[in-house]
């Protein structure tokens, strides 16, 4: 069964798109990430133009993040204050990212930039996560207590910076500047790569700012809902590339898959989950690496610049 995507102007297999949405939703529910880092390459691979993919999946990511954020809000695990500071940086970063996106598209290096960014980000994070998860597993096997993430009396590296603020839920008293900078960096990366950035936000909050894991996930979900809604609106009004039919199909698959992923995830150990996610991230990074070094199948590519203007 096929369905015509009115903005992408292309006919796709309905079950393929639903399947991709469900699979990515399952993974995002399992690991508590948005899944954009998987969705973008998969959809581009199924023939939809990158501009439409990045714009349309923003609302899908917002939908999945919102259903997750609701669950965290009920258990009052969202630090709205930290989220708001993060979002303020994220908005600036997103605007910069949209500008960078169109610049790279003009000079014809968008594919390269997206590929390299994925390779470095995913490769780096995958290796770090795998190391940490394997370390924890080993420590547990040998009976030693797992290394604590937060040591008593440790105020972190950003202690000397001005504009300090207290974040009760995150058990944090620190300068807002590094938080705004983190929000801006993730906002920029997110709008260029079409990802929510959860796979960056959560580890950054945990490892850099020492925010408790559950609160870090809650803040990340809140941040993702706001920035991805803004991104969706921005793409719809500037690039005119949001395909709402594609978004809807991805959402249906995504929210269903996410629920099953979450229930499977609850039966697994944290370090096992992290190790699996690390392997998955490394696999995606490996695919990008392969594309860069292998002799291309098609040496030439065609693009239609500014189709929508």
């Amino acid at each position: 069964m096929t369905v015509y995507l009115p903005i992408a102007e292309l006919t796709v297999n309905l079950f393929l798109i639903l399947g991709i949405g469900t699979a990515v939703g399952f993974i995002s529910g399992l690991f508590g990430v948005g899944g954009g880092f998987l969705l973008t390459p998969l959809l581009i691979f199924s023939g939809i133009s990158p501009a439409v993919v990045v714009a349309s999946e923003a609302s899908q990511i917002a939908a999945t993040a919102f259903s997750g954020a609701l669950a965290y809000a009920r258990r009052s695990l969202i630090d709205y204050r930290l989220g708001a500071v993060l979002v303020s940086g994220g908005v600036a970063g997103s605007l910069l990212g949209v500008w960078l996106f169109s610049l790279l598209r003009r000079v014809g290096q968008l594919d390269f930039a997206i590929g390299i960014a994925y390779l470095i980000l995913l490769g780096g994070i995958g290796i770090l996560m795998l190391k940490e998860a394997v370390g924890t597993m080993r420590a547990k096997l040998s009976g030693a207590p797992p290394p604590a993430l937060r040591k008593g009396g440790d105020h972190g590296w950003a202690h000397g910076l001005p504009f300090k603020m207290r974040f009760h839920k995150s058990k944090l008293y620190m300068s807002v500047l590094p938080i705004i900078a983190l929000g801006a960096a993730i906002g920029m990366i997110g709008s260029v790569l079409g990802v929510g950035g959860g796979f960056l936000t959560v580890p950054a909050l945990i490892y850099l700012f020492r925010v408790p894991t559950t609160v870090a996930i809650g803040v990340s979900l809140f941040y993702t809902v706001i920035t991805m809604s803004a991104a969706s609106l921005l793409h719809a009004t500037t690039n005119l590339t949001v395909d709402i039919v594609l978004s809807l199909l991805l959402m249906i698959g995504g929210v269903v898959g996410a629920q099953y992923g979450a229930s499977v995830g609850q039966q697994m150990k944290g370090e096992e989950l992290r190790a699996l996610l690390a392997l998955l991230i490394l696999a995606v990074a490996g695919r990008f690496f392969y594309e860069f070094v292998a002799i291309p199948e098609r040496l030439y590519s065609i693009s239609i610049p500014d189709v929508w203007s």
Partner: protein
């Protein structure tokens, strides 16, 4: 047409000429191109289509006799857009996009179809003049390439990539003569073909020269729900964007409720 028939036509022609005192007209045939529909609606199940154009050769009394049968070529051009071809080059061990060639106003879709091999129908000069065949499709370029880059390689790659996508078509069997004066041209529009106006140009040839031309056009338009969505995204982008956000929030909220009860 039988030989006596031709003689009769010639006779009528000569009679007409002598009556009107006119010079022999260069083209005495007229082509009427008929399509089953002048627009194709794209709905949610659109998966490409085959378009058939019937062409009738009308001869008036002045038609001169042709020795040998007619040939026919149909050229179909989709909406024109500027398209860029890029070549990947190896840079520090990685494959990156290198030199590019910009084709200004190149057809997004192009089909050249005929009743037999193009080379047998027309000479290279005529083919070049009328874009008969993919090798002879005129593509205007912009910008200059460094001296060592082969222009033809880019052109060939562009055409080959479009052929792979089913957007450039060439066939020497796409046109068939149903009888001496009725011909049928059939060309495929793939699922990824762009919306817009498609111009169909039918050329009737005899002994390597064009004796008549006919034109028609067919519009590929979005219909129903797809059309409304597309219009909304263009005419009310802010509302459209808000709708996508509201949809996301509603879906997320619904998922939260439905699955919590389970």
């Amino acid at each position: 047409m039988s030989v006596p028939g031709r003689m009769l036509l010639l006779g009528v022609l000569l009679a007409n000429l002598s009556l009107a005192g006119l010079a022999l007209p260069a083209r005495a045939e007229k082509l009427v191109v008929v399509l089953a529909a002048e627009r194709i609606g794209i709905t949610s199940s659109f998966s490409g289509t085959q378009v058939v154009a019937i062409t009738v050769v009308e001869r008036d009394g002045q038609s001169i006799s042709r020795s040998g049968a007619y040939d026919a070529v149909a050229l179909i051009r989709g909406p024109e857009r500027t398209q860029v071809t890029r070549r990947k080059v190896r840079w520090a061990g990685l494959w990156v996009n290198g030199p590019s060639r910009t084709y200004v106003g190149a057809p997004t879709y192009f089909a050249a179809i005929a009743n037999r091999p193009f080379a047998d129908i027309a000479g290279d000069d005529l083919r070049a003049e009328h874009n008969i065949g993919l090798d002879f499709l005129r593509l205007s370029t912009r910008g200059r390439l460094p001296g060592d880059v082969d222009d033809k390689a880019f052109r060939d790659a562009f055409v080959a990539a479009k052929r792979t996508d089913g957007l450039y078509v060439e066939s020497d069997r796409g046109v068939t003569f149903i009888n001496d004066t009725v011909l049928r041209a059939s060309f495929p529009l793939p699922a990824n073909t762009p919306v817009g106006s498609y111009k169909i140009d039918v050329l009737l040839l005899s002994q390597g020269a064009i004796v008549a031309r006919g034109e028609a056009s067919i519009d590929l338009v979005k219909e129903g729900f797809e059309a409304s969505v597309f219009r909304a995204s263009r005419e009310q982008p802010l509302l459209y964007g808000l709708a996508s956000v509201v949809l996301a929030i509603a879906m997320g909220w619904m998922a939260g409720i439905v699955f919590r009860r389970n």
